[in-house]
Structures are given as C-alpha cells and as structure tokens.
C-alpha cells in the first residue's frame, strides 16, 4: 500500500520505539501527509495492522488530536491563531478578514479546493503574534494586508 520511500520511513519510525504502538502517531501523520492531508478508513486500517492495534483505537486517537483530519483540506491550509496573545493583537480580526476574503468559515474549504481555514489555539509563537501556519510554514506578525498578498501569491 505504501510507496517504497514511505515504507522506508515507516520502518525507520517503527525501529525507534520499544513497541510498535508507540510509533502510531508519527506514522499516522506521515500517512496523512502523503494522502493530501487527510485520513481515510482504509489508511487507518492499514496503520492499525502495522502498529498492531485495533481500528477503534486508531479512531479514538484521530478524533482526539486536532491535527488529524477526516476530510480533505484545501491545498493550502491556513491555520490562524486566535488564542489569547494573538487575540490581543488582532488574531481574531485576521481570522474574520480571511473568512470574508475567501468566503468560507473556519473549518471549511473553498469550492476550488485551494484554501481551507482552521482556527487555532496557541501555536507557540505568541511573542510574534498574530501567527499563522500555512501548511507547514510559520508566518508571524501577520497583518490583513499581508494575508491578502499571501493568498494572492498562493493562488497563482
């Protein structure tokens, strides 16, 4: 089911832990990344077999952590922090601005599948608030104007 490269990464993860189940979360993250940012039942079952845990266990895990997604996110997943320090310096306004701009609510994906927005709790960049993660990259002290510019660039 895995490509050779992914299989190698999975094997490497498995051998870093005393028992297979320990590697579950990193493996799920890896699989999710390979599968365009979301998990399907098929993939979960496959990981369940690899890590020797019941499928229910995986389902419990993926519904616990916010980074696991059971529906497909946009190509660019905008994770906007509105937690306390970000909220103090404009995080909430930035989120609202972005929602308006993309005409979707947080938790949704644009019709063309390019963007999705997620409202985040503190992402650990509070001294550089408001902070945004786009896919895997941090952007700090983001103003609405910078957000507009970023969206424009990513669209192309």
């Amino acid at each position: 089911m895995f490509s050779e490269d992914i299989q190698a990464q999975v094997d490497n993860l498995l051998c870093r832990y005393p028992i297979k189940q320990n590697a579950l979360i990193p493996i799920l993250l890896l699989v999710q990344k390979e599968n365009e940012g979301w998990l399907t039942e098929e993939w979960m079952q496959h990981v369940a077999d690899i890590c020797e845990v019941p499928l229910t266990h995986i389902e419990g895990v993926v519904t616990f952590y916010t980074m696991f997604r059971l529906k497909r996110p946009g190509r660019y997943h905008l994770q906007i922090c509105t937690c306390v320090p970000c909220c103090l310096v404009g995080g909430t306004e930035l989120l609202e601005h972005t929602e308006k701009k993309l005409e979707i609510q947080a938790g949704h994906t644009t019709d063309d599948g390019v963007f999705s927005i997620e409202e985040m709790e503190c992402i650990g960049a509070c001294s550089y608030a408001p902070a945004v993660i786009v896919n895997e990259d941090y952007h700090e002290q983001v103003t609405p104007e910078e957000m507009d510019k970023m969206i424009k660039e990513l669209r192309q």
């Binding site: 870093r16 832990y17 005393p18 028992i19 189940q21 320990n22 590697a23 579950l24 979360i25 990193p26 799920l28 993250l29 890590c51 845990v53 266990h57 419990g60 895990v61 616990f64 952590y65 916010t66 980074m67 696991f68 994770q79 509105t82 937690c83 306390v84 320090p85 909220c87 103090l88 310096v89 985040m120 709790e121 503190c122 992402i123 650990g124 960049a125 509070c126 001294s127 550089y128 608030a129 993660i133 895997e136 990259d137 941090y138």
Partner: protein, 419 residues
C-alpha cells in the same frame, strides 16, 4: 535599567552564530558533556540539585530532586523525555531554543540522560512545530554522524539514542502523564497518580519528563563553577536565568533571558518598551493563561516563582501577557475559557463540564444576558473545578475565572447593568 543576562541565549544573541554542530562546538559546546562523562551519574544529579534549578515547564519543581526519585534496580530501562509540547497560551520560549540553538538543548538532554541512566531519550515536540522538528532532526542527524550519539560517544562507553517524536495537536499532552500516553501511541489523557512517572512512566518504565528550557540549563550548570554561578543569578530558591515570553500590548514583544530578580514593571517598561500607542496598562496575565490575573497596580513585584506566589499568582511558564486599558476583560476571559473548553481531554467530570459551562456563561454576558446571579454562578462553577479534577488543567481553567471575577467585577456588570 533592566537588561538580559545571557546564559541560554549566549549564542542566539550573537548575530554571527552558526547553529550547526560545528558552530556550536566552536562556541564551546560539548565541553560539559565531556566533563560529565568523567563523573559518576550521582555526582551530576548532585550538581543539578546544588544549582537550585527548578523546572521551567510550569510547576517549578526542583529538577535534581525529581531525578533522584527515579526508581532504580527495577531491571527496566529508564527514560528521559524532553517536553517540547509548548502550548500554554503566551509561551514561546522552547521553540526559540530548538530553532535557534538546537545543540545546546540536545547537549543538556544528553548530560541529563547520562545522569539518570537513560539510553534512549525522546523529544516530544508538538506536531505544529514543523520548522523546529526539521531543525531538531537535522541536528540529531549531525550528532549521529559525528559519533556523539549512538554507542560510545567520546569514548565514554555510554550508549545513547535520541528520537524526535511528534505530537498531533493537543495542549493537554504537555501534562507529563498525558504526554506519556501520547508517546505510547494513545489518546493523550492524563493518568491517575500514583504511580508517578519516576516509577512507572513510558511503557511502564521509570521516566523523567523535563521541559526543554530546563534541559538547556544543564550544560551551563555542569560547566566549571556552573552550579554556583547559576545559583547566584537570582534570589534564594529562584536560581538561574529564565526565558520570559513577553506578548500582548507592549512595544517590544519577544523572548528575553532574565535573572529572577527583575521586577515585572521593568520587564514591561524597560525590556518591553512600555505599552503600545502610549496607552495605559490595565493588567497582566503573568505566567501563561492559567495564572491568576494581576491588575496594573500589582506589577511592582519581582518576576520569579516565590514572589509571585506570595501575591497569589504564579510564574508558571514565565509567559507574560500584557494588556492595555482598551482591553475588554469579559472578551479576554471568554477567549481563555474557550481555550480550556477546547483542550480539556474530557475524561473527568468537573473539567469536562465546567470548562464548557463557564465558557457558555461568559458568552451570555457578551450577548447581553448577564446578571448578578450568573456572575455568582460563573464564580462558583470555576471554584468547583478547583482541586477536584484528575490533572491540573481543571485548576488551570478555574484560576483565571476566579481571578478575573475578583479583580474586574465591574467589567462584567458593565455588560448587564441598566444604563
């Protein structure tokens, strides 16, 4: 004039610093490790005890003492886990260390592993920290390539592996027992204590969980004369320098390394450059979102564990969130309670129900449905979470509620008082 004292940020503050292994070595890195390999592990623990180092993860527990609780002679391996889950709102210091000087932290992790007899250390990094994860993985790669990790680093005969482990989005996984469950590949729900991790932690083995900054202090403490010097940086029982994450309405937010005898006032006005747009200070949340709030007239206090405890609040993770006179207290508290409602693992009753309920009551105020009775109820719901939950998240959620209502009751009344 307050200024930084550079121990942990010695390299980071050097604009020409090269954070690679070679660069770290050039700036004197791994000298402590070499020295430590000539000591007995107990001696290392003793040095750390003498330095007076207290954990930087939030609880401020003496690190040396924590290590001495590790169960010995169990026939099971011992583990050291670095807590890099940094998710307490306001806190962004560990990320700084991992991104900008990964080898300092890793050297600390290696010395500490030697001290407690751990042969495989894990770094539990929150999953959203993609850049830090990349940096750490690269740094660990360098260490293996150099022979500093694996079997027999520096000819010591000691064997050590380090694995960078990623979380997947859950604040509660910063709590050490939840972190262990998460590391084991489960839902990150705090465990019943006892048994404590020092007896039964990762996969049931003796384990110590330490904050990244705590571990980053270790190379300095173990350098020649380090323990003494470390102790001299602050008042009694508040040893060393610490990283302060300053955020909110100050002119110069940022992460600063300070001694523990600097006052909050100086931090806000000197280090932080004062309040933005010439406004007045209204209050400060001093130690991460869970610490009881302080009013503007309370900030003339030394920023350390004991002085803050004396006035009924706490240092926590040293994350100062400063807010100005224009801040809506009710909205601010609502944002805090929403955080806890979102992050409660939900297994225990008072926290699962209380975090959600309190957030709904505050929302009532925002919608114009507040009342004296609801204010009392809010206070009571907060109080009922305090001291009755399985882990400290319940307390963390309760303390802001009670302190906000105590200190800013008029702000709540504004929302419903007839004009």
């Amino acid at each position: 004039m307050a200024e930084e004292t550079l121990v942990l940020f010695k390299n980071i503050r050097n604009p020409k610093y090269d954070k690679s292994l070679a660069g770290y070595k050039r700036s004197g890195g791994f000298k402590s490790l070499k020295k430590v390999f000539g000591m007995k592990p107990e001696e290392v623990v003793q040095e750390v005890k003498e330095s007076g180092l207290r954990g930087r993860g939030g609880a401020g527990f003496p690190t040396g003492l924590k290590w001495s609780f590790m169960a010995k002679g169990t026939g099971k391996p011992s583990y050291l886990i670095a807590n890099a889950d940094e998710s307490e709102p306001g806190t962004c210091k560990d990320r700084e260390l991992m991104l900008k000087d990964p080898h300092l932290f890793l050297e600390g992790l290696m010395i500490s592993s030697y001290a407690i007899g751990c042969h495989h250390a894990y770094v539990y990094v929150r999953g959203e920290f993609f850049p830090a994860i990349k940096t750490l993985n690269a740094a660990v790669g360098e260490l293996y390539a150099d022979g500093l990790l694996g079997t027999n680093p520096l000819g010591s005969g000691f064997k050590l592996d380090i694995t960078i482990h990623t979380g997947a989005g859950a604040y509660i996984c910063g709590e050490e027992s939840a972190l262990l469950d998460s590391l084991e590949g489960k839902r990150g729900q705090p465990r019943v204590k006892p048994p404590f991790p020092a007896v039964s932690g990762f996969n049931g083995c003796p384990t110590s969980v330490n904050n990244v900054e705590t571990l980053a202090c270790i190379p300095f403490i173990l350098s020649d004369g380090g323990a003494e010097a470390f102790k001299s940086f602050g008042p009694q029982n508040n040893s060393g320098t610490h990283l302060v994450s300053l955020s909110g309405h100050v002119n110069c937010p940022g992460v600063y390394e300070l001694r523990m005898d600097v006052s909050m006032k100086d931090i806000i006005y000197d280090i932080g450059g004062g309040i933005r747009d010439g406004k007045k200070l209204k209050g400060v949340i001093p130690g991460g979102s869970s610490s009881p709030v302080m009013k503007a007239d309370e900030v003339d206090v030394l920023y350390n564990f004991d002085d803050l405890a004396k006035i009924g609040t706490m240092l926590g993770s040293a994350a100062m969130m400063v807010f100005d006179e224009g801040t809506d207290i009710v909205k601010l508290l609502h944002r805090i309670t929403r955080f806890y409602a979102h992050e409660s693992c939900g297994q225990c009753t008072p926290c699962r129900e209380g975090t959600h309920w309190s957030s709904q009551i505050i929302q009532d105020f925002l919608r114009g449905n507040g009342s004296d009775e609801k204010l009392k109820r809010l206070y009571r719901v907060g109080g009922n979470m305090l001291g009755t939950t399985l882990c400290a998240l319940g307390d963390a959620a309760a303390m802001p509620i009670q302190s906000f209502v105590n200190k800013f009751p008029e702000e709540f009344r504004k929302y419903y008082a007839t004009l």
